[in-house]
Symmetry: none
Subunit: 140 residues, 4 copies
DNA sequence: GTGGTCTAGACCACA
DNA sequence: GTGGTCTAGACCACA
């Protein structure tokens, strides 16, 4: 499971972690019953303060996605996947809608915007092979 | 000039105002030499604290888009338009890229994402008559 | 780093702070990579509202002198010093010019003015031990 | 009597007018019993709002420098000159001191500062012939 | 009426 | 603990 955190994209860091865990579960990369990476590990890997990771995990527990197992860590709950698939749709769609709303309000035409979108998607998917950097960024 | 502020979209309110002023100038709705709405007026119209409006206007002054005329208000500077057109592109593109990056990372396919985008754009532009969102779609 | 704020000298308080930070960097008292005093600390030390300090720091960030480190504070940027040395010259020179212009316009002769200047400089530098002004001459 | 107003030098415009009237009286350009220029005239000449001129004149009346003569305008009072000579000294000296204090605090040496001062004074007095800027320089 | 500055105090994310 | 944002409200100079 890889994470990609961008501190300046308007989504709080803990929320980015929440989302990416959900995406992993939706994708089936993170399966029910499986442990998620420990706070300490993620903290090191992402060079983010453990408190921030903690907050993400607490949120996921409150939402019924993760549960703690005594002395071991956090596991993905049985019925988490459908939830996560639904959430993913909402999260992605809402964020896109928000960006597109701004784009339309900016005065650019739907055509110009679609063209921007296509270019970005092309750059984001043209990734023949392996991402070079663990910590994140989709490589064109 | 109409504004549409969403306090929860991840962009600071003052920054939304900054952007929308730039968009207005880019579009030619706000012309060089013209006054922008006063702090107090905007504050009332958007029910946002005057200080927040002020901060947006200060930023626009520092960026050389607006200048204050003593006792009268703030005017759009002569050469502001090209700047604003360039800025608009960057602003819109960066935000779209950020949303699309998340979308791709979520595991959705480029096709699914494009489909979401098209639906949103259709909804945002199909506005024969009534704005779909209550809170203010700039018409003009 | 010591500050000396005079609320009634015609320079806005936040601007006095901006300048004195720049002076400190120009002098080498504040070095690249070093943290500046926190908003709260300065606020207490100078008995000035945190928002006012904040505004100064925001300005310094926009000018590329400081940058924020998440959760830790504000650091002096790498290449800040030359900028600050140049800025110092402009700031000091402009203010002196303005005061001297008024002095000349007042009808005093260049000789009288130079004499005033010399006396002031003598008083300001003759500080073997005790500051002459109670309100805070930066020592260091 | 010529005025030279700089809206950005930290001294309020009305206060600049107050001072320059006093300087004129100190110099003997404006004599006791003489009328000062009307609000309307000054307002046009300096392209400054009449209210601002008015405020300056009110201040001068409160300080006992000017007095109104029914239906005619404002005259310089009998004993105004010594007051104005004393005030001039204080005004000029205080402003210089303030600028020099900042200069010293900036870390520049007394020598560097004196050199700046001399250059400025030279530039300000070397006026063989025509003032470069129309709107301003006091003509003796 | 206009903007500019300042204070007071709150809440947030992050370390 | 750190800065970032926002609200509420005051006072000032200027038009």
């Amino acid at each position: 499971m890889f994470f990609s955190i961008d501190p300046h994209n308007g989504v709080a860091i803990y929320e980015q972690i929440v989302r990416q865990i959900k995406f992993g579960i939706a994708e089936g990369i993170l399966k029910s019953g499986q442990m998620v990476p420990s706070v300490r590990m993620l903290s090191q890997q992402l060079t983010i303060n453990p408190n921030t990771i903690n907050r993400a995990f607490q949120t996921l527990q409150q939402e019924g996605v993760l549960a703690s197992v005594r002395g071991q860590g956090l596991v993905v709950l049985e019925d988490a996947r459908p939830r996560c698939i639904a959430d993913r749709k909402t999260i992605v769609s809402d964020r896109l809608q928000s960006a597109l709303t701004e784009a339309i309000h900016s005065g650019l035409s739907a055509e110009q915007i679609e063209s921007l979108v296509k270019n970005h998607l092309k750059a984001l998917t043209k990734r023949n092979g392996v991402p070079t950097v663990a910590s994140a960024v989709p490589q064109e």
